[in-house]
């Protein structure tokens, strides 16, 4: 099996993997990175989203060959309890979840949005999160959290 190299949360990573194996399996099964969640295996729910470069991708549907040399960010790379990302702080402040299983993917979609558009409108937040499914009905809290994070990041 070839060695595939990439950047994971700012650090160099290399795994021997079947090039057709999906990124989600490698992250969870080989590298112990558990924030991307399996939800459907078909790129339809967003629970497994990660950032590859500036793009949000479904890691359940992303073969390893396509991420060689790329820069991958998961929630583990967004921030920590000691140094949280503004989104992580805002999701706590707004209590923006019920079960929280979809939250990793939503944090990733939101982080990518704020990178390309630091001051989104509510409609832009909703559009950016539209491919992320939430079954518990915490959508409005999450939208509020993203808007709060945006305002904190613009005016710290």
């Amino acid at each position: 099996m070839p060695t595939i190299q990439f950047q994971l949360n700012g650090a160099a990573a290399a795994v021997d993997a079947d090039p057709d194996q999906m990124l989600l399996e490698v992250l969870r099964g080989r590298l112990g990175v558990t924030s991307p969640h399996f939800g459907c295996g078909a790129g339809e729910c967003g629970a497994c989203y990660v950032m590859v470069g500036d793009r949000v991708v479904a890691s359940c549907d992303m073969p390893m060959w396509s991420v060689a040399g790329k820069d991958i960010v998961t929630v583990e790379g967004l921030g920590t309890a000691e140094q949280p990302h503004a989104l992580q702080r805002a999701f706590i402040s707004e209590q923006a979840m019920q079960c929280g299983y979809c939250v990793s993917g939503i944090l990733i979609s939101a982080a990518a949005l704020l990178k390309r558009n630091p001051s989104p409108t509510e409609a832009e937040v909703r559009a950016a999160l539209d491919r992320n499914l939430c079954r518990c009905g915490s959508h409005n809290r999450m939208v509020r959290a993203v808007l709060r994070a945006a305002s904190e990041m613009v005016a710290p």
Partner: protein, 709 residues
């Protein structure tokens, strides 16, 4: 002569009276609280921690909530029915009050100060003259290994500092900082992975396997076959998936059970063998002549739980003992079913809870636990983790039951209601594990030594009923007859889904009320208030109306509607007002709700549950319907079973009527019925047509328009 009744222990505590099974003081000045209820995304562990912290007078940060396990936890049955605060909360409040008293007595002895002069602050017990000790210093002097007594008195509401106030949920930091908390993210040493082969054709049975291709998959550990149950164990998820795919190619199936015609669910439900029960009757003191009878039929389809995570479990055998990790709603009930299937004494099985994704009732959590147990038999003592596919989650887990509801309302010459007949045709709404002589688990119907599929039944009226839940009107109609027809066949597997029959029944009752109010030319809120005598009911309706500025001026293309219910007729009161917009495609713009759960332990938690319930109900009403042809479930992906997305979600505004003196009840299921009805009534206000078949889609609206013209 009368005597005061002896004080009684809360039911959960009476069943599990030992104090130490609920609370323990641990090293490092912490308190371990061990409820029998489990976190299913509803925030219950936080609410219970608040209650315990309040009664013990410790900071909530000192409370460590222990996950339920049959090895150590009190047996509180199942976490369902919006009963956790009522049952576990009451028990914990009582336990902690008694524990506080016991420690105060010990402190009094040690410090030589009367207990009445002692105070507790964050676990430190202090008194006049600056004397002090703490719970932890006194651990050796107070035994909690005895039964609760009925004498302890909890704080009065005004003295509670934590319960009744919004606090941040204790599970949320883990979830935003990617610390493994879900069962899906946990691991065990030497963990193997399993997958189970399930048929596409509903009810088909596995009769033959060609194992050669699967055996060639690198990483395969075992192929497991037990009658019609087949699966694989491998050293990685990828290998297990590959082996399963190979196994599927060579599998042969027989039989199958035909499914109903999904376009005529009412026809199907009304043509089956049923068990008929008169749920309730009221007879008018005198007969009233009626001028006309309105007869209406309402339906709702099968609805999927569709949790965002597919069900998952882990199991590990040690000789003839097995340890199971599960996101089941009832660890003891699952254990009881496992004991039947495995023919083992319950003591040989430990079932331990770990969080899963949001759970809205009896999904596949219990099924996958048995899958893991059966596959782990082939793993020679190593633990096996099994995770279902999205496809299996959407087709093999139990669904919420389809319903047909017929109401006849007799109206007098003034269109006042003088008679009311409500009849329900539906499968039962519960086939949970652990309650019958036979198991309710899917693999138990597949194994060589197999059990028949358990036909769903309905919980008794005392527990809120099932298909009949919320079918008895809260309104003061002169006479009524409520009848439930429970199907004795079950081609589509059904069990408990959030609200059981309440969503359908409230939709039906509140839709017809709205129609009658319109017929009378009376405001639908005034009409409801005129027929209610319970002030708490009237208060939530008035509060929602005030908040929504009822009734906003009529605008073209916009409609408003109201719905009300008290969940189970004994639980939370909820009124909802919907604002919708549209022509033949409906968008719900805003939902305004008022709710009364008695004492709201964590008010923001209650708001969160009501918001979530309102949005989920909107999704059910506008989008959701399990699809099938005559042989198989076809809505097996998110494309085929769409749910509401961020752009579709309405604004939701919730007002809580806080009543600290009234026993708390749950909030998780209060909103679904009222929101469903409010949307349907708003659609009528907007478009002038009544859609009586859920979901309210473009097709249904066009059909209703054609019927009306």
């Amino acid at each position: 002569m009368t005597t005061a009744p002896a004080p009684k222990l809360p039911a959960s505590l009476a069943a599990n009276p030992k104090l130490s099974s609920w609370v323990r003081f641990t090293d490092e000045d912490h308190v371990a609280i061990s409820p029998g209820k489990v976190e299913i995304g509803q925030g219950i562990v936080t609410a219970l921690a608040q209650i315990a912290a309040d009664e013990l007078d410790v900071e909530i940060g000192r409370i460590e909530m222990i996950r339920a396990s049959t090895a150590t936890s009190p047996n509180e049955g199942v976490t369902s029915g919006s009963l956790s605060v009522q049952q576990s909360g009451r028990a914990l409040r009582h336990v902690c009050a008694e524990v506080r008293q016991l420690f105060l007595a010990a402190a009094s002895e040690r410090l030589g100060v009367d207990a009445s002069q002692l105070d507790v602050g964050d676990g430190t017990i202090s008194g006049p003259g600056n004397v002090r000790t703490s719970y932890w210093e006194l651990i050796g002097e107070v035994s909690l290994d005895h039964d609760a007594t009925a004498g302890a008195t909890a704080k009065i509401a005004a003295r509670r500092a934590i319960a009744g106030h919004s606090v941040q949920r204790i599970d949320i930091p883990d979830k935003v900082f990617a610390r493994p908390r879900f069962i899906h993210d946990r691991t065990l040493p030497d963990l193997l992975h399993g997958r189970v082969l399930r048929p596409d054709v509903s009810g088909a049975r596995l009769i033959a396997l060609n194992e050669a291709a699967a055996r060639a998959v690198p990483g395969l550990v075992a192929i497991v076959r037990d009658g019609g149950f087949g699966g694989v164990v491998a050293d990685s998820e990828a290998a297990a998936e590959a082996a399963l795919k190979a196994l599927r190619k060579g599998a042969a199936w027989s039989g199958g059970e035909p499914l109903p015609n999904e376009d005529d669910l009412a026809g199907f439900l009304k043509s089956q063998l049923v068990e008929t029960t008169i749920i309730n009757t009221r007879t008018a003191p005198q007969t009233h002549g009626h001028a006309q009878t309105l007869r209406r039929q309402y339906t709702r389809p099968y609805i999927a739980h569709a949790s965002i995570a597919p069900s998952c479990a882990m199991a590990q055998w040690d000789d003839d003992r097995v340890h199971v990790w599960t996101h089941s709603q009832g660890v003891y009930l699952l254990r009881a079913d496992l004991a039947i299937v495995l023919k083992l004494p319950a003591e040989s099985i430990i079932v331990e809870h770990m969080e899963g994704a949001g759970c809205y009732g009896h999904n596949a959590a219990d099924d996958v636990a048995l899958d893991a147990v059966l596959l782990a038999k082939a793993a020679t003592g190593r633990p096996v983790r099994v995770q279902w596919s999205r496809h299996d989650e959407m087709s093999h887990a139990p669904f919420g039951a389809a319903m047909a509801i017929e109401i006849e309302a007799d109206l007098d010459a003034d269109n006042e209601i003088v008679g009311w007949r409500h009849a329900i045709w539906s499968n039962g709404h519960a086939a949970r594990p652990g309650r019958a002589a036979q198991p309710a688990l899917l693999a138990a119907t597949e194994m060589a030594n197999r059990y028949p599929r358990m036909i769903s039944s309905n919980p008794p009226a005392a527990n809120g009923g099932g298909g009949d839940r919320n079918s008895v009107p809260l309104y003061d109609f002169l006479a009524w007859t409520i009848t439930s027809h429970r199907l004795l066949t079950m081609p589509v597997r059904t069990s408990a889904l959030r609200t059981l029959g309440a969503q359908g029944n409230v939709f039906a009752i509140e839709s017809l009320l709205d129609e009658i109010a319109a017929l009378r030319g009376e405001d639908p809120i005034e009409f409801r208030l005129r027929h209610l005598h319970d002030d708490r009911a009237k208060d939530v309706i008035r509060a929602a109306a005030r908040r929504a500025q009822w009734k906003p001026q009529k605008r073209s293309g916009i409609g408003h509607g109201v719905g009300f219910a008290r969940y189970k007729n004994t639980g939370a009161y909820c009124a909802a007002i919907a604002e919708v917009e549209g022509a033949d495609d409906i968008r719900v713009k805003r939902l305004t709700l008022a709710v009364d759960v008695g004492e709201a332990i964590n008010p923001d938690g209650v708001v969160n549950q009501i918001e979530g319930g309102a949005i989920q109900a909107t999704s059910w009403v506008l989008k959701e319907r399990v699809r099938f042809d005559r042989a198989r479930i076809t809505s097996t992906s998110w494309t085929d079973y769409p749910i509401l997305t961020f752009s579709d979600v309405p604004a939701v505004d919730v007002e809580i009527i806080q009543r600290p003196e009234i026993e708390p009840v749950g909030a998780g299921e209060a909103a679904h019925g009222p929101v469903t009805a409010a949307i349907a009534n708003a659609v009528f206000d907007c478009l002038g047509v009544r859609v009586r078949d859920l979901p309210i889609t473009r097709d249904k609206i066009i059909a209703a328009m054609e019927l009306a013209s």
